[in-house]
């Protein structure tokens, strides 16, 4: 057990180094000259300006040299300077990370709660209409592009019905709450500012639902399968025979055990959520890491692209590691391997 965890922990930095290397190489074997995005198309004919920029951004050095410098800087938490914003990438990301975290956590809560509920319903009413309806709803969520469902929901709930606000994190007139965690809903609660809290929460609802819907499918599928498994076991029959209420049997007896295998999907769902967050943020003008990544990719802002890719890879690795460890702790049959997102 301990050895398994130690081995996974030792592999982490190596995998991270691999991630860094690939991200670095990718952005340097590019067909487009990054200088065009630094000095602008018009200045590209001006030899002096181009040379100065090349020197200033370290692009005149050899590739191995640039790599060593990059990795060295990385160890001090320096991800380079964005061509686009002209600010340190690490600083940009730090500003934007809380927004993404708030969105992803909210989506995960919604997606997990809805997925578990649908999975239990589907298993309880196995092969009956509610089972099929639950599975269809989950499957549609996994099949709809978030950048489209986001648009549709915005149009319906914000424009047509007027129940929820439009894009953004907070009302245009309102000010952000004092910084504690960077998550507006939490910060406004800490500050005791309920007007801001309502504004932040109402802005969070739509994007979080859109994003959460994408992961309902994998959660409910897993919960349904393991609930079906557990519901057929003798101790459930015993509980029923002793006269336990249906709700008690489902929640206290069956679901508790059925949730263990469902733990593995946290890693899976994280992959969905990162993908979805990038696109959801673009639709909802959510000032997080996702919209930053999209802007960077559109404008060939290489330091920013590598930075986001590395941070995303690290977060993904960490999520998978935690999932595997949690699973190994809960279920001692797992010693090696374990599930991961793809």
């Amino acid at each position: 057990m301990a050895r398994y965890i130690v081995r996974r922990l030792v592999a982490m930095p190596l995998l991270l180094l691999g991630v860094v290397t690939i991200a670095f190489l990718l952005s340097h074997f590019t067909q487009a000259d990054p200088l065009t995005s630094i000095v602008g198309e018009r200045q590209m004919n001006n030899q002096a300006v181009v040379e100065a920029a090349r020197k200033r951004w370290g692009l005149d050095r050899s590739l191995p040299e640039q790599y060593l410098v990059y990795v060295g800087n990385l160890l001090t938490g320096d991800l380079g300077i964005s061509f686009r914003t002209k600010q340190p990438v690490a600083y940009d990301l730090k500003l934007r990370l809380p927004a993404t975290l708030e969105l992803v956590v909210a989506a995960m809560l919604i997606g997990t709660a809805a997925g578990v509920a649908l999975g239990v319903v589907a298993a309880r009413f196995h092969d009956r209409p509610s089972d099929h309806a639950a599975r269809l709803f989950a499957l549609v969520g996994a099949s709809t592009p978030v950048f489209w469902s986001g648009l549709i929901l915005l149009y319906v709930f914000s424009v047509q019905l007027g129940w929820l606000p439009g894009p953004g994190r907070i009302d245009a007139r309102g000010a952000a709450p004092p910084f504690v965690t960077g998550m507006y809903t939490l910060d406004s609660l800490i500050a005791g500012d309920f007007a801001t809290f309502r504004s932040a929460l109402s802005h969070l609802v739509l994007p979080a639902c859109v994003l959460g819907w994408t992961m309902i499918g994998i959660v409910s599928r897993m919960v349904r399968a393991s609930m079906l498994d557990v519901l057929g076991q003798e101790y459930v029959l015993t509980a029923r025979a002793k006269g336990a209420s249906e709700l008690r049997v489902l929640l206290n007896h069956a679901l508790r055990n059925a949730l263990i295998p469902a733990l593995t999907i946290i890693g899976f769902s994280f992959a969905y959520l990162i993908t979805g967050a990038i696109l959801t943020e673009t639709i909802f003008a959510w000032p997080g890491v996702g919209s930053y990544a999209v802007a960077a990719a559109r404008e060939l802002d290489h330091p920013a692209i590598i930075g986001v890719t590395i941070v995303g890879g690290a977060a993904f690795l960490l999520a998978n590691l935690l999932t595997d460890i949690a699973y190994a702790l809960v279920d001692p049959r797992v010693r090696v391997g374990g599930a991961r997102g793809s």
């Binding site: 592999a11 995998l15 991270l16 691999g18 991630v19 290397t21 690939i22 991200a23 990718l26 952005s27 340097h28 074997f29 590019t30 067909q31 487009a32 499957l139 549609v140 996994a142 099949s143 709809t144 592009p145 950048f147 489209w148 469902s149 648009l151 549709i152 915005l154 149009y155 424009v159 399968a225 992959a271 990162i274 993908t275 990038i278 696109l279 673009t282 639709i283 990544a293 999209v294 960077a296 990719a297 559109r298 060939l300 692209i305 590598i306 986001v308 890719t309 995303g312 890879g313 977060a315 993904f316 690795l317 991961r340 793809s342």
Partner: protein
């Protein structure tokens, strides 16, 4: 005796469940559209055929977009980009993953170590971020988006294939073949590989939908198809610019939803059939 307990002439075979039929119908319909659309498309997908931003009407069932092109025609033509790309990406990713994975599992040693570390590192990226980084460095375009998708997807198959080969290598019939003097290549190709396909097929069918989604996502971001290509993700991003004219994004959105749903139905059912454990 056991066989007799079931009707001998079942009217419908076991695998023909409703999801399979729905999935096959949807995917089949889209394949037919892709093959025949040039004969019956209402309008040319890239020509300006009407007034700008017209809501759905009798002449333009799904309205017209910001330039005055017919949304329905563009939506139908869009399948000619999504389907072939998904098929190509799956085929190439399976081929690469198959060769490297089978080689790693069968040969072992340094080849195994190198391939599997490469797999580990590639799978450490969230798929969309890796795809974005690759397309950003190769430059936008559907061809480069497809290359990015292959880079993202081959490790999944390599890992699967290696695990399968390793599992099969220990079987008795393989030992028998080896002792009877079969050469390694023959053992691999005739005794091991034919048994390794079912998880690959299940995964590929599930991935089809995911790949259609990811291609559309890359185009939506602006890294895939470039205008005026009638590609679904690209069309939705045009629709997002003209947010109040909801019909521009409606057609391509429904198109993506139906085709991905179709593939997911098929994949789910295939998984139940070929891999009974996950039922």
């Amino acid at each position: 005796m056991i066989a007799l307990s079931r009707p001998v002439l079942a009217r419908r075979p076991d695998w023909a469940t409703l999801p399979v039929l729905i999935g096959a119908a949807i995917v089949g319909a889209w394949i037919i559209v892709a093959l025949t659309i040039h004969w019956w498309s209402p309008y040319d997908p890239v020509q300006l055929v009407g007034r700008r931003l017209m809501p759905p009407s009798a002449e333009h069932w799904l309205g017209t977009d910001a330039l005055g092109r017919d949304v329905l025609s563009r939506t139908l033509y869009g399948v000619r980009h999504s389907l072939p790309i998904a098929a190509l990406v799956v085929a190439v990713a399976v081929l690469i993953g198959f060769l490297l994975g089978a080689g790693a599992g069968f040969v072992g040693g340094i080849l195994d170590a190198v391939v599997m570390r490469l797999v580990d590192v590639t799978l450490s990226f969230p798929p969309i971020l890796l795809a974005m980084a690759v397309t950003a460095s190769l430059g936008p375009g559907l061809r480069n988006a497809a290359i990015a998708m292959v880079i993202v997807w081959w490790p999944v198959y390599a890992r699967l294939m290696r695990a399968q080969v390793l599992a099969m290598r220990g079987r008795e019939h393989v030992d028998a073949a080896v002792t009877s003097g079969a050469r390694p290549a023959r053992v691999l190709f005739t005794h091991i590989l034919p048994l390794c396909w079912s998880p690959i097929i299940v995964n590929a069918s599930m991935d089809f939908g995911q790949i259609v989604l990811l291609v559309a996502s890359l185009s939506f971001i602006g890294l895939g198809a470039v205008p005026p290509t009638p590609e679904w993700g690209q069309m939705i991003s045009e629709g997002a610019l003209h947010f109040y004219h909801w019909w521009i994004a409606a057609g391509p959105g429904i198109a993506i939803l139906t085709i991905v749903l179709g593939f997911n139905f098929l994949g789910d059912a295939l998984r139940d059939i070929l891999d009974p454990r996950s039922r």
